[in-house]
Symmetry: C2
Subunit: 361 residues, 2 copies
């Protein structure tokens, strides 16, 4: 009995002829992940239009190009969104365009790669990676994530790396336009979530100005991953009503942080660091009235096998970073929830607890 993936009228049967049923089961589970549930609806729609398509586009090669466009483009997206009437209308429009002059529209997906564990990619991100002709990725995106992309995709590394050479945002913009115009489907892959602390918003504005169709696939941002993998509830009835995502990177005409505002917050602070900012950060928070024994957690390489968690108190921040030789990518959590990591950790090695923090907790 074969394992079945049911996207009626499309059916996929997997069989090992009885030799390796567990492998067949595993392949089935993998395909369930990869094949969108709406594929059956798409199949039904295409079946209903089949005669008209064959009658209109007589050359099989041209039909194949049209079908690829239908299956990977707007029509599939609309079906996925449950907008069947719009999908049928888009199909009709593409068919009549193809009948006169076929032209593929450029498409860019701004995709979140998450913090590093490839298991934190979303299903939509995985599908985009497996469809991409070109992947323009930040240097920090983990190799394990890139390994999930289509084998023959062109991979281009761009973006900042501390110490190393970095690609300017202008150059990233020009690469984005160039590839979007020369290839069918471009993935712009960014660490974490693409619209948090990167220049994703500016990249979308560029694409919009240039009339290039895009989509956005969100990702797990470092603070959320660090909370989950270090055992730190980011909000908690007894500790913090909300969460603030902040960055302490100094830089290019950026305003200085509003330290007073940060120091007084009842919400958990999750700070996407510049390691160099630790001394200033703790000095300023203390100067604006934050308690010296406020628990802090430093999470290096959140979610990756080499993750390290260091727990301590705010006034020792700079010392902790130096003493444990912490490196980027690092996330800092400030607030009493950080003190919970000592008991609630479950992933990888136990946190390093500085004695002073234990007293404070």
């Amino acid at each position: 009995v074969p394992a079945i993936v049911d996207r009626s009228p499309l059916m996929i049967a997997i069989s090992s002829g009885g030799t390796a049923p567990m492998l067949a089961r595993w392949v089935r589970a993998t395909l369930e992940q990869l094949l969108d549930p709406s594929l059956g609806v798409l199949a039904t729609l295409l079946a209903a239009w089949r005669q008209r398509i064959v009658a209109t586009i007589r050359a099989p090669a041209a039909r194949r190009v049209l079908y690829d466009a239908l299956l990977e483009g707007e029509v599939a997206d609309l079906v996925r969104a449950g907008r069947l009437a719009d999908a049928a209308q888009a199909l009709a429009a593409q068919l009549s365009t193809a009948a006169t002059a076929p032209a593929a529209t450029p498409r860019v997906a701004l995709v979140g790669a998450g913090p590093g564990d490839p298991g934190l990619l979303t299903l939509n991100a995985l599908r985009a990676l497996q469809r991409a002709d070109v992947i323009l990725h930040d240097r920090l995106v983990s190799p394990a994530v890139l390994a999930l992309a289509r084998r023959d995709a062109l991979r281009v590394s761009v973006g900042k790396e501390s110490g190393g050479p970095s690609t300017t945002q202008d150059h990233i913009h020009s690469l984005l336009l160039q590839y979007a115009r020369s290839h069918r489907y471009v993935v712009r892959l960014k660490g974490g979530d693409p619209l948090l602390f990167g220049r994703g918003g500016e990249e979308l504005q560029l694409l919009q100005r240039e009339g290039i169709a895009f989509e956005v696939i969100p990702g797990i941002t470092a603070a959320v991953a660090a909370g989950a993998y270090a055992g730190i509830p980011l909000t908690h009835r007894d500790h913090a009503p909300g969460l603030r995502l902040l960055t302490a990177h100094a830089g290019e005409g950026r305003e200085a942080p509003d330290w007073r505002d940060w120091a007084r917050s009842r919400d958990t602070l999750a700070i996407y660091m510049g390691l160099g900012q630790c001394a200033v950060l703790s000095r300023e928070l203390l100067r604006h009235g934050r308690a010296a024994d406020t628990p802090v957690a430093l999470i290096e390489n959140a979610s990756r096998p080499e993750q390290r968690v260091v727990l301590g108190r705010l006034d020792a921040l700079h010392t902790l970073v130096q003493q444990h030789a912490l490196q980027s990518p690092m996330l800092l959590i400030v607030g009493s929830v950080a003190g919970l990591a000592d008991k609630l950790h479950w992933f990888g090695a136990a946190p390093i607890v500085e004695p002073a923090a234990e007293c404070a907790a």
Copy 2:
């Protein structure tokens, strides 16, 4: 005639029953890309070991765990690298480890279901759902997400629903313990991310106190999804340096929000609403000095096919909610980035733009 992907002894047949052969062809091409050519070799290896594995690990559930490890770990890697002798050796080692390993301890995974689009589940969350014996899920978790779980998993709906009967947290705790002790693998499935704005932290503390092993699988939280799907960069060099995740739910001994602090924030505010709080919220923010024409975006059902986005200004918040009869789940974004949604939206229907907001933007 079905399209065939051949990884003998593993065979995959794709058929649309003649209704959409081009779709079957496209799925076949996709699978050819996705399934490593070495899969057939792996199938042959597993087939050769099958009798020994069945004789050694008698419980099917334990065998499933072993096979997942073999198919996704070192053995598969070695086969892919063409090192068959090493692969067989690694398989033998894993089998003997699995045979001597102590009985599986109860395990609970606290899993984020994301905002509703099942494509926003992480790969790890999907694997957990496909392994779970019991799924204890919030009522708001979308049926499309639950549909991805193992077919024979026990599904138990708990948690709050506005208007309807709700399960108390004490009762959720007792169910969690009961199932963790009677079943192998329990998934506690929560909307969005499990450690943000739920009582996930308290559930982890309970499991820790009771000595039950757990793991946490993060999820895409509503604010991140709403930003991506409505075209709102949550941070942006020209608009907002950071993001605040807040909740305006009044409730059980909770302190009132620090309105002054919220009103003065330069960061984007993402507010997980109580719809009933709109009037109070806009009144208090205005009273504490926030500009009346501050752009706001109301995102109902973020990421779901029925998503609606309403753009307007802060002083019209209450009117917007009533006029458009907005319903839960809803997320409110306050800050000038909300004004970008008008141009950067790409998913579903275009936002509803209130004329006043256009003037303000």
